[in-house]
Amino acid sequence: MSTWIILGATSSMARAFAREMAETGAAVLVAGRDMDDLRALATDLDARGAAAAAALYFDAGDPATFAPIVKVLGATEGKVSAAVFVGWMPSQAEIDANPSLIDQVGAVNYTGPARFLHELAPLIEERGGTVVGVTSVAGDRGRFSNYVYGSAKAGFATYLSGLRNRLNRSGAHVVTVKPGFVDTSMTWGVEGMFLVAAPSAVAKSIAKAVEKKKNVIYTPGFWWIIMTIIKLVPERIFKKLSF
């Protein structure tokens, strides 16, 4: 049997991915802070075909919540896989008004998930499995309107790249996912969104990347072209742009 732990499972993107995994017959553990919603999700996954499903408490800002989850995973049999959907994007204006938010943005988008994965890595090395880390196109280049969030995502992406290198030695795999705009609660009502993808479509593309052992994916795929162009803009011009 194979077990998935989904972190940030109250996200609609995570929920859709958890359902994809449930329909393959894996055991799926969903973790986050809203236990009522997570328990309802576990029931849903169970009805959709998961071999087993349960809700666990996880707070990216509270590392004491990590070890109990690793322990539960240790008690399962077979492969152990983890998918990190945890994320938080306060507006740049809020951050400018309250710079201490930078610590929390870093903890939720980068250091919390990275430390969790570090505590879990030995088990994955022993049993095999896959790590899915959701970062963002926002991490590809620091932009005027979103660079604190972007830098945390960039940090997490770099961590995942190194973790891939490490886990590759034991045959385990890491998929870095860079979504463009996705139609979730994070973007609902936010201005300036375009080409917004459905969470279910993003989840399907992540499931496919896991199956095909892709290293880094942009989803939807056309964001690769957009980001390649954005990365090519020379810094002397880029610094004058404000998007």
Binding site: T10, S12, D34, D36, D37, A40, L41, T43, D44, A47, R48, G49, T184, S185, W188, G189
Partner: protein, 440 residues
């Protein structure tokens, strides 16, 4: 909870709305909304008209409230949140031996929408309407009051909710009795039908549990009402119950795409697709019951102005009026190829439910002034035949015409007033038809 100011529309694109929409992702958010800023709910916006719209006001998009809350593989009783789509239920539960008792001609509608229009399917003559298989429904009323209603606990509220276009509260979840299926497939028998009278005889005589007729709306003279009759049963067969992935219609097509000559040619080919001696084949459940889901966003075929669907049901004894209706449509040359005929049973679960024992006809028209004049004439003929128009589709009838067809509307309006005294759940269709204005 964040509101988003957005444009949205009924499926046929004739009715549009702009307003603040909230889209709760979990039940605590929905509860808070109904306490603090109650608003009418909508599902997948598969109603053709203004039934799910609240132009200039607020609305709640229920599509993310889509969890399965409980499934009993022994009894086929399923409890789900209202935003679950019926096609997903077929895909998930047919392999386990169960399917929803009633599904419409598309898999996208939500359970909430299916209840709010007390929808009917190809098996209406046997199993009745969707609401007749609802064991209980949980409503969130303005102010945050949560009530679980069954036909026994509060018959009036239950009957005002089934087919009640969302006016008795936001439907949060429902318990459904599914029906058993031997597998993921349907065995479908197709028969060529030469004329309208032959069609009625076949509809009357069919002993299949699922049946529907496709009428060539362009044929006239002795071929009037010719078409294809499809009769089907749930069966084993394919390893999946879902349909193939849909092809998109990426842009609005120009007006001539569905002009009379194109439609006539298409229909003639469609009719000949089935050999004169008929044929039988096995397909997945979704392929048979959701034929249009092969094309995504197909309303775009009708261009920017959109289209109308005329759907009426007339009592058995007034079938001759239905024949006149088909004749009038054929002579007009205004219709699209999509005309569907079916015999309905008596089954209905609510005060504003559409079904009555009789024949129902549904047909699309590109939105043009001429078509609207024709539809109004067809509506008048429906009144004369003591028939009914469907509240999930009609866009042109008057409030008085509709009220005449739904004699229980005042009892319904009283229940709506009790559940929603301040009228915060009122939608565009309710305003257009003055459905909640008792004694005016």
């Amino acid at each position: 909870m964040l509101w988003k100011e957005t444009d949205y529309a009924g499926w046929a694109r004739v009715h549009k709305a702009r307003g603040n929409v909230a889209r709760p992702e979990r039940s605590t958010q929905l509860t808070r909304l109904m306490e603090e800023a109650p608003a009418p709910a909508y599902g997948m916006l598969r109603s053709y008209n203004d039934s799910p719209l609240n132009d200039g006001g607020a609305a709640i998009d229920m599509t993310r409230m889509d969890k399965i809350l409980h499934f009993d593989p022994e009894t086929g009783v399923l409890e789900v949140e209202a935003g679950v789509q019926l096609g997903d239920l077929i895909r998930l539960f047919a392999p386990k031996g169960w399917v929803p008792a009633v599904v419409p001609g598309t898999g996208f509608p939500t359970v909430g929408g299916a209840i709010a229009h007390d929808i009917h399917g190809k098996n209406h003559h046997v199993l009745g309407s969707f609401g007749q298989h609802v064991l209980s429904v949980t409503l969130l009323q303005p102010g945050g009051k949560r009530v679980e209603v069954t036909a026994e606990s509060d018959a009036a509220l239950f009957r005002a909710t089934m087919g009640g276009i969302g006016q008795t509260g936001v439907i949060v979840s429902a318990k459904l009795q599914m029906i058993p299926t031997p597998g993921n497939g349907m065995t479908v028998k197709e028969t060529r039908v030469g004329s309208f009278d032959e069609f009625l005889a076949l509809l009357d005589g069919s002993d299949y549990r699922y049946n529907v007729g496709w009428i060539d709306s362009t044929a006239t003279g002795s071929a009037l009402g010719r078409g294809i009759f499809e009769e089907a049963e749930l069966s084993g067969g394919p390893d999946k119950a879902g349909g193939a992935p849909a092809l998109p219609v990426p842009i609005n097509l120009p007006g001539f795409a569905l002009s009379a000559p194109t439609v006539k040619t298409f229909n003639a080919l469609y009719w000949r697709k089935v050999p004169a001696r008929g044929r039988t084949h096995v397909m997945s459940i979704a392929q048979h019951v959701f034929p249009l889901d092969k094309l995504h966003d197909w309303y775009r075929l009708y261009g920017k102005r959109g289209f109308h669907q005329f759907q009426c049901v007339v009592p058995l004894q007034n079938a001759s009026v239905l024949k006149e209706i088909v004749q009038k449509i054929a002579r007009s040359g205004l219709a699209s190829p999509l005309a569907v005929i079916k015999r309905m049973g008596e089954g209905r679960a609510g005060m504003l439910s559409f079904p009555m024992e009789g024949y129902t006809l549904a047909i699309d028209f590109p939105a043009r002034d001429k078509a609207e004049t024709l539809i109004k004439a067809l509506e008048a003929m429906t009144v004369e035949a003591e028939g009914r128009l469907y509240l999930g589709k009609d866009a042109l009838a008057s409030g008085d015409q509709i009220k005449g067809m739904y004699p229980e509307w005042e009892a319904w309006a009283a229940q709506a007033a009790k559940a929603d005294p301040d009228g915060v759940l009122i939608t565009d269709i309710v305003r257009r038809l003055q459905l909640r204005e008792i004694g005016k």
